[in-house]
Symmetry: C2
Subunit: 132 residues, 2 copies
């Protein structure tokens, strides 16, 4: 049971940006967060697309948070970054390969467990991660 | 966010065994659950080791549940089958690679979310999956 590398990088990036008062370069974030620049670029594009990060051009440009840290829930970040929330085969959009599916009662139970997971994360914002 | 294939196979196997009154062969389980015999063998060894499945030798031998379905919690099955419960790097036994770790407050929040996930599953037993 683990999250994708993209979720990990997104969380590191947001924590790092939340600790800075001015825009920082992609290179700085990559170095300070211990991730590759190419992986970081992809994640940042997703974060910019979701209006969690702002990308500013120019001499003093760089990336910074697009919202107050208190408005960014950890649950929303992980929902955004995970390619799939299908814990097992039958939770995929086009499930196949499990002959037990027609009579199986597993899916709603796993769904409720996953909902409990995200509900917990929805109660925490990026600001909670930045407290000293 | 997904569970390992081993968890998926273990759940299918236990559901199938819970629907049968007599021991069944590995070949039958593999075919009826749509999984490879070699993957199934590994999972069954783990389930036998955890006293969830009994393996009986002989002419009428095969595998069957070692306990009442009502005593097998879904949470315990998934905890057993997942190689690692480390959602991200810093939750590993020997974390490395995240320079933010010393001051990061993410780990306890992810731990509590994961606990909420398993608490939900602990409230459901294999018997809940077998109800018609």
């Amino acid at each position: 049971m683990q999250l994708t590398v993209s979720s990990d990088i997104a969380l590191r990036t947001l924590i790092y940006l939340g600790q800075r008062d001015a825009p920082v370069t992609i290179s700085e974030v990559a170095e300070e967060c211990g991730v590759s620049k190419s992986s970081l670029m992809k994640v940042v594009m997703t974060l910019v697309g979701a209006n969690l990060v702002l990308s500013e051009r120019g001499r003093n440009g760089g990336i910074c948070l697009a919202q107050e840290a208190g408005n960014i829930s950890i649950g929303s970040v992980i929902r955004l970054m995970e390619n799939s929330l299908a814990l097992v085969e039958c939770m995929k959009d086009s499930p196949s390969g499990c002959p037990l599916l027609p009579s199986c009662r597993l899916k709603p139970i796993l769904n409720s467990a996953q909902e409990a997971f995200f509900s917990t994360l929805d109660n925490h914002s990026l600001a909670d991660l930045l407290k000293k």
